[in-house]
Symmetry: C2
Subunit: 341 residues, 2 copies
């Protein structure tokens, strides 16, 4: 066994952000690492996953699990290697992924952690970045709730983001016409040229409503919604009879001081018989293996391409996460906490 660290570095939540995450909301510091108890193991973190939901966990808004407590280490998805273990069945050298903390080392009893398989032909960043969270989110949200059929029109917002890029490609695999919405020409070019989307609307320079009219003259069958706000309104207005809307996120409002909801479209939901369903990927936990196997198969066969936006340095995480809310990330946002070897 190598020398074990006596300390770790971690981010703790000091106060709940009001609006944008500000200096001092989270604090980064060294702190002692206690000795492992029986049944625990020590994980050296390689990648920290930064996700839109992080901002929700920092707040005390209505949410789907308890918010991070003030003074607690910030919660986050992590992937790392076991460097010490007192837990039977968990061996030193093993890769593990799950729900952890913004830290360079984590002591875990295995709760919300699972072995991370290495897939020949895929980098750890691609495998972890895709299969742990955003891939299953796209998979279950689009297939179970969206129920895409060949020839249907699918719109996906945040198209170049971690989930969006996968949603669009699964849509293409299922025979849909796929229209992305993303911020900036580079992202739009990426999802059309590299990922095979049929079209992409640059919400920063184009009129989303007018472009949707042009690109989806027969209306929209599936809206994979991640953003909310005015962009969502333009999409919902154009939904077809029996349209489906997997509601995956509303990132445009997560930093709002007084969140403004898009208006209700109750009459439209009734008259067009729309289905709106909110979901969180953990709802589908019992079926993760199905998603991971299918997604890995598509990745290995070249049908599913993924892009990660890997930023070095745990110490920058509180700054890095802001990229999600400004839209300046390009692909699944990961912090490289230590080298993947």
């Amino acid at each position: 066994m190598t020398d074990l660290p006596s300390h770790r570095h971690a981010w703790r939540l000091r106060r709940r952000p009001t609006g944008d995450i500000a200096e001092g909301d989270l604090a980064y510091a060294a702190e002692p690492l206690p000795a492992l108890a029986e049944g625990q193991f020590l994980l050296k973190i390689i990648y920290l996953s930064l996700d839109p939901t992080n901002r929700i966990w920092m707040s005390d808004m209505e949410q789907y699990m308890p918010p991070v407590g003030l003074g607690d280490a910030m919660r986050g998805g992590v992937c790392g290697r076991v460097i010490a273990s007192r837990k039977p069945g968990v061996d030193v050298g093993q890769l593990m992924a799950g729900l952890g903390e913004w830290a360079d080392h984590i002591i875990s009893d295995g709760t919300a952690m699972a072995p991370m398989p290495m897939l020949p032909g895929l980098s750890l960043a691609a495998a972890y970045g895709t299969l742990s969270l955003v891939g299953p989110t796209a998979y279950f949200g689009l297939l179970d709730i969206g129920q895409p059929k060949p020839g249907e029109t699918l719109v996906v917002s945040a198209a170049a983001g971690g989930v969006g890029q996968i949603v669009g490609q699964i849509g293409k695999i299922k025979g849909c016409r796929v229209i992305g919405i993303a911020g900036g020409k580079a992202k739009c070019d990426f999802v059309t040229s590299e990922l095979g989307f049929d079209a992409c609307i640059d919400y920063k320079s184009q009129d989303v409503g007018a472009e949707l009219d042009r690109l989806a003259p027969k209306g929209i069958d599936i809206n994979f919604e991640q953003v909310g706000g005015d962009i969502m309104v333009e999409v919902v207005k154009r939904m077809n009879l029996f349209g489906r809307m997997p509601l995956c996120g509303l990132i445009s409002s997560y930093n709002d001081l007084t969140p403004t909801e898009p208006p209700g479209f109750w009459t439209m939901i009734l008259m067009r018989r729309l289905t709106i369903r909110g979901f969180i990927v953990t709802d589908f936990m019992p079926r993760y293996a199905e998603a991971a196997q299918t997604l890995a198969g598509w990745m290995l066969s070249g049908q599913l391409k993924t892009r990660q936006d890997i930023r070095p340095g745990l110490e920058h995480a509180a700054e890095t996460v802001k990229a999600l809310y400004s839209g300046s990330n390009f692909g699944k946002l990961l912090v490289e906490v230590s080298p993947p070897d």
Copy 2:
């Protein structure tokens, strides 16, 4: 063959109502009945079904079938007896039900019409009033979309109305705790004492939110929504994780000059993973027989009681239909156009 009428009485739409239906929006008059062409039959109407959707059809708001054209006979559900036929397979004396017109006689080629079975032990009003429209609406909306499970809490608005009374009773058959919302003590007493609802909130004299807190302290799993407006808001606020909301109607806004939608609850839909699904009973047309058989079985066994509010006189139909929007009907609203024999 008896002497056939040379004229009929019918209501025609003269102008689209603005707000409440007003004198002169619809006109009642005698008009010549043409001779039957090959493939047609003549139906003498017994019951005209008055339904919330009638007001939608009079308007040019977004809706699920074309609005009634100006000058056209008003559309409505009807049940009647064939008194002349030039259509093979349709015999004089046969009872038929389907989508017709506000008239005492209708010439039909059979489109949107089906034979109406007489069920021993049920009056024609109970059978037609329940099995033709409101019963299947309640059946598919609650069972397919609401997916009730034993022990869950179901709220149904317009609880004493045609659909609501059946929704609540199916909810009880499925083991739910059922809370109705209705206007007035008589309706509330009826659904609890006669129909077996667990509780009923009188929105005219009680604070709906406070009563929901008291009666559903663990929250609401299914909201069978028919009303919209402030009452809907109070119910939606209290929905549980993974709650379902069959959206069947929004009657409180149908007469609005500038309809105000209830606000969007997008964050709540996401965080609580709610399913909101609009539907119209005709979406389930291929499965009508399933609903009718099951409902008739429950009626004959006494598990499902129904109440009709039968008003005489086709000539009063334009006044009678207003009862739906003021909430002064008590049970499924039917106009008796001619005696059922």
